[in-house]
């Protein structure tokens, strides 16, 4: 016994979106406010600081650049997986979604290498405000990547059964996960220049 809720797989005729897609956009709006607040905090702290180190004094620009490439590629494979579903090619979907999850793990591994190098050099969040904001923002972003891996992993293995019963709804789920994943990607596109290059 459960309630009948319209517009789960078909879009609403007036708004043109499904419930889930509307919901994910609202969620992303709140995420923009979350990271927006942190970027604002960064600006306030930096403007008020007597000295502010150049990012590359502490951080490794090549590793971060590699990570940027990894994350953008994963966004690409994410779109390809959704496109494969639109073309009714489930095997291709599995391949691209698998690649997305693998690339996300690659991002976290590189992040792990970076973090351990910092700790090895004795760079900790308590050292100064620059390192504090670096660890906080990249850490929070890392948690978001982890969340994306969990969702995408679910859609890759147990959740993909839905394709055989409700294909339209499943494609909708992949699309929503994709929107989230592009957002996570976008946050990194801002983090990379702000923390490493400026």
């Amino acid at each position: 016994m459960s309630a009948v809720i319209p517009y789960i797989s078909k879009p609403h005729p007036v708004t043109g979106v499904t419930n889930a897609k509307f919901g994910i956009w609202l969620f992303l709006a709140s995420e923009v406010m979350l990271f927006g607040a942190l970027f604002s905090a960064y600006i306030v702290l930096r403007v008020g600081a007597e000295t502010w180190p150049l990012g590359s004094e502490y951080l490794s620009v090549p590793w971060a650049f590699a990570n940027t490439v990894v994350l953008i590629t994963s966004s690409l494979t994410m779109v390809m997986s959704w496109a494969a579903l639109q073309m009714n090619n489930f095997a291709k979907y599995k391949k691209y979604m698998g690649a997305t999850v693998l690339l996300s793990f690659g991002f976290l591994i590189i992040k792990y290498i970076e973090y351990s190098a910092k700790f090895h050099h004795g760079y900790f969040p308590a050292n100064n405000t620059f390192l504090a904001i670096y660890f906080t923002m990249t850490g929070l972003h890392g948690i978001h990547v982890l969340g994306g891996i969990i969702v995408n992993g679910y859609l890759l293995f147990p959740g993909s059964k839905m394709w055989h019963t409700e294909p339209e709804r499943f494609a909708g789920r992949v699309e929503c996960a994709g929107l989230y994943w592009h957002f996570v990607d976008l946050v990194w596109i801002f983090l990379f220049p702000v923390l490493y290059l400026l």
């Binding site: 889930a20 509307f22 607040a37 906080t136």
Partner: protein, 573 residues
């Protein structure tokens, strides 16, 4: 819908996905926390009125001599604010009223995301448990005020960390809830129920949810930063060269304590409107039903609250005039604060003009709604001197501020919520409450609340600071000390009135169900078209369609007979 297999107790009442059960869960949880926050306040009020005397009966459970210690006073103060705002009023106004009524008022069978709805309640529950647990930690609960200003909060005992973790849970819960409410209100309206046919309460919940959605994340960010400060020793909010108790703190420094205040008030000012908007919506529903008239200027009121929601994001620093952030900033926020008072006045005027020319039914909920109007007006108008920089310099951080915002939230929002409980009680339970007890509750509440909060303006204008454990140590506060005693006695009256309330709503459940209780107030909105109580997971017996606006009362012209009017003779057979 024909599958009628019974759900087990746990699925039906504990981990339910039915918006009505979740709404009641929120309501009971919020009621528990409201009473708890009130209990903390009763103990603080004893100490303020009779400093250094041991609290009767319960005092010996708190401390050895029964006197509320300064540390406990600070904890109770911080937790009273936190509990009342984040665990009491918001879960009641948005969690309980929003969850229960919004799907019914738009004609939906449930919220758009029922499982997410259940998750949001249980995340709230965990947040509440963390907050309660913090009282048991060494050093006690958070004690830096509900605003948790650093650097004080950064060096406070462990309870502050629990406060931050609890807040992260509560923020997440509000976030999930607000996404659900917005999607439900926009996507699940029945055919014919266009945006300008929505009941005003739905509009109020919609705007409220946008505020929760967009204003809460910055506090989450601030909470994460303070957690980093406390757990990993960073210095986001710690300036260089900080000396505590004669000892230099061993932190890197370079942080900015004002940053916390900006992030905090960026949430906490919209939060004020989160507290008041659902109350305005509830009052509007009660007023139109009992005046038998359409809402005077419905469209104007809707545009006003949308504008109010937008403006509430650019007034936050009027809480910070005294921080030395500069005259240009202060002037800007003073101007926006004056502007935001306009839409609130518009909504209040709309409600007042609805009363004009009405033949009012003085039901119990209507008494609460009628009392709300002047109480909210007092709360709003006393806010103007605080929004103007010149007068704020004198009034800042005095009891005047406490009086102002309590008039908005306690005799304002809380009385609207109580009226709402009475108004929808017959729909939720299928029974009518006891009207005499309801009226006694109303008068006790009205007199008690005014007895508590009106003297605060005078104490505040006498210059008494809001944070004093024992204000009689100051000469100028001793002359107004008798007012503090009156306030404490009033708080007992208020407590006694709430006992009547609890007896009424729980004892009335034992009455037999009334057959004709589907629409006892003869109201027009969709929730009254549902069976009583609305069907589980379905709400309505059959699909609905809306053909009219929300408040079409007295649509036929009124009958009247002038003296010169002669009744026509009956036709001869």
């Amino acid at each position: 819908m024909s599958s009628h297999h019974e759900e087990g107790f746990i699925r039906k009442y504990i981990f339910s996905t039915d918006h009505k059960v979740i709404g009641i869960q929120y309501g009971l949880g919020a009621m528990f926390f409201l009473l708890m926050g009130f209990g903390l306040m009763l103990m603080m009020r004893w100490q303020i009125a009779f400093p250094g005397k041991s609290i009767p009966i319960i005092g010996k459970f708190l401390t050895q001599d029964g006197i509320l210690s300064p540390e406990l006073y600070n904890q109770f103060g911080a937790m009273h604010g936190t509990i009342m705002v984040f665990l009491g009023v918001v879960p009641m106004a948005v969690g309980a009223f929003g969850n229960y009524l919004l799907p019914l008022q738009v004609g939906a069978q449930d919220m758009a995301f029922p499982k997410l709805n259940m998750a949001s309640f249980w995340v709230f529950f965990v947040g509440g448990l963390v907050m309660l647990y913090s009282f048991l930690l060494p050093g006690g609960a958070a004690q830096s005020g509900w605003t948790s200003y650093p650097p004080l909060s950064n060096i406070a005992p462990a309870g502050q960390t629990a406060w931050l973790i609890g807040m992260v849970f509560l923020i997440t819960s509000s976030l999930l809830g607000s996404v659900n409410i917005i999607v439900t209100a926009v996507q699940l309206r029945v055919p014919g129920l266009s945006f300008f046919r929505l009941p005003f309460l739905v509009w109020a919940q919609l705007v409220t949810s946008f505020l929760l959605l967009l204003a809460f994340p910055p506090l989450e960010a601030a909470g994460v930063l303070q957690l980093m400060d406390r757990v990993f020793g960073t210095s986001f909010f710690m300036p260089s060269g900080l000396v505590v108790s004669g000892q230099a703190l061993e932190v890197a420094g370079g942080g900015n304590p004002l940053l916390w205040q900006h992030l905090f008030w960026f949430l906490a000012h919209p939060e004020v409107y989160v507290l008041i908007l659902p109350a305005l919506g509830i009052v509007a529903e009660i007023v139109v039903t009992n005046t038998r008239k359409p809402l005077y200027g419905y469209n104007t009121a809707v545009y006003a609250i949308v504008f109010l929601g937008f403006m509430s994001f650019i007034v936050w620093a009027h809480h910070m005039f005294m921080t030395g952030m500069g005259t240009a900033m202060s002037a800007f926020f003073q101007a926006t604060t004056m502007i935001i008072s306009i839409p609130s006045v518009i909504v209040l005027t709309v409600l007042l003009l609805t009363l004009w020319g009405a033949s009012i039914r003085f039901t119990v909920p209507m008494l609460f709604a009628l009392a709300f109007l002047p109480m909210f007006a007092i709360g709003g108008l006393t806010g103007l001197p605080l929004g103007l920089t010149a007068s704020d310099i004198y009034l800042h951080d005095t009891y005047y501020v406490i009086g102002h915002f309590h008039y908005v939230v306690a005799p304002g929002t809380l009385m609207a919520l109580m009226g709402g409980v009475y108004h929808w009680y017959p729909k939720v339970t299928g029974r009518m409450f006891n009207k005499t007890l309801g009226k006694l509750h109303f008068w006790g509440t009205l007199i008690g609340m005014n007895g508590i909060f009106a003297p605060m303006f005078f104490i505040g204008m006498a210059g008494v600071s809001r944070r004093l454990y024992d204000s009689t140590i100051y000469e100028m506060a001793r002359s107004v000390q008798p007012l503090n005693v009156i306030m404490t006695y009033s708080s007992w009256l208020l407590a006694a009135a709430q006992v009547l309330f609890l007896i009424n709503i729980f004892a009335s459940l034992r009455k037999p169900k009334e057959a004709a209780a589907d629409n006892p107030w003869e109201a027009t909105t969709l929730e009254w078209a549902a069976p009583t109580p609305p069907l589980p997971h379905q709400n309505f017996a059959e699909p609905l369609e809306a053909y009219r606006g929300p408040y079409e009362y007295n649509t036929t012209s009124r009958e009247f007979a002038p003296s010169t009017y002669r009744r026509p003779k009956p036709c001869q057979r």
